[in-house]
């Protein structure tokens, strides 16, 4: 499965938040192997867009098709393909970096790759530090290091490089390229220009 073409197609999709339609009649195609970046002003609906793709939004009109099938027909199965990185970091302050990562790895059944994941974001030295002592960027990097573990096909990354230093951004870009080479899907919402070959969509 991993090296097959995958695609997400949106047809006339609208999505409301509260009583405002945030995403209005969007049609587009997201293909595997190519990075897809969403840009737009604050509050234009980038995060909403990603949440919609992850199946978290309820008030969705129109069709969203993953490999030809609506994502809502087999939602649980579809959602198993998704790696979603939200604006927050799902990190427990009292757990060390290692423990935090270990738990998420366990949930995915990938406990063996943790060392590698820590190395990917240069967190080996901080391995045993409780996460509450991490700086903001370090926390984000700990969250991002889940990417090095996951086997999921669709990566939805909401402002992944927020607060990261340049070096970390480069490392992230490398990983994304690798995933794309494996025919994965990557959708990123960001304000920062990344050095990636992209389809860009303006909300």
């Amino acid at each position: 499965m991993k090296n097959h073409e995958n695609s997400i197609i949106l047809e006339n999709v609208s999505c409301a938040r509260g009583n405002r339609t945030v995403i209005n009649n969007v049609s587009l195609k997201i293909t595997s192997g190519k990075n897809f970046i969403i840009k737009g002003q604050n509050g234009s609906g980038k995060s909403t867009f990603l949440r919609m793709l992850a199946g978290f939004q309820k008030n969705v009109n129109g069709k969203i098709l993953f490999n030809g099938e609506s994502i809502f027909t087999n939602q649980q199965e579809y959602q198993n393909n998704i790696f979603y990185l939200s604006e927050n970091n799902p990190i427990k302050n009292t757990f060390s970096c290692y423990e935090n990562l270990f738990f998420w790895a366990e949930i995915e059944g990938m406990e063996n790759n943790i060392q590698e994941a820590l190395k990917f974001q240069k967190l080996e030295n901080l391995k045993n530090l409780p996460a509450k002592f991490l700086s903001m960027g370090q926390k984000r990097r700990l969250n991002l290091s889940r990417l090095a573990i996951t086997q999921k096909k669709i990566w939805l990354l909401d402002e992944p490089v927020n607060g990261l230093d340049e070096e970390s951004i480069l490392r992230l870009c490398e990983l994304i390229k690798k995933h794309l080479a494996n025919k994965g899907i990557v959708v990123i919402a960001t304000h920062v220009d990344l050095n990636l070959e992209t389809d860009t969509f303006y909300l």
């Binding site: 979603y84 970091n89 799902p90 009292t94 949930i107």
Partner: protein
Amino acid sequence: MFKIFLSIVKRDLKLSYKQGNTSLNIVIYFFLSVSLFPLGVGPETELLSKIGPGIVWVSALFSSVLSLDKIFQADFEDGSLEIFNLTAIPLEFLVLAKALAYWLTSGLLLVILCPIFGLILSMSSKSILYLTITMLLGTPTLILVGSIGASLTVGLKRGSMLISLLILPLYIPILIFGVSAIDASINDVSAKPQLLLLGSLLCFSLVLSPIASAAGLRINME
């Protein structure tokens, strides 16, 4: 599936240990709370043994429910819940796992300790036995019922007031059956009906509350 269930339980136990909601603390809280009542009511042993079951039960309620309303809060706020949603296990299992972990760190301990408190409150050995049994059946139910309320109020949308108004009174039947089972045993009436009711409440809530809580979480997650 079961492995993931276990690892959630393990994580929650570890979290509660690291956050210091350790067994020791709960014991002390319970202990202090049980010992406050005799202070308020006065030291006459006969009176104490009479209201003893009520005291232990209310203290159990307070100490086991103390942080129950926040059981999903942290996972909700930091986005862990969303990640659970993207794994193979259904949210119902997550609820069950979290409730189990919570019970292991609070309810179970109270059950183990309540004979001691029964002694402190000069209860007879028979009513201590019944106290222990009712607590064993009742505390998980308290926690399961409480988790419904916690799931509904987790996002703190408007109207959360109404929800807690609905859920908190659900503790009442558990408390009433628990206390009256012990009373029955004291008065040499069979306590079987109360125990059966408590047992069936537990079974009910074991099935219903994960479903209801998961639904509650989904509502608030949008």
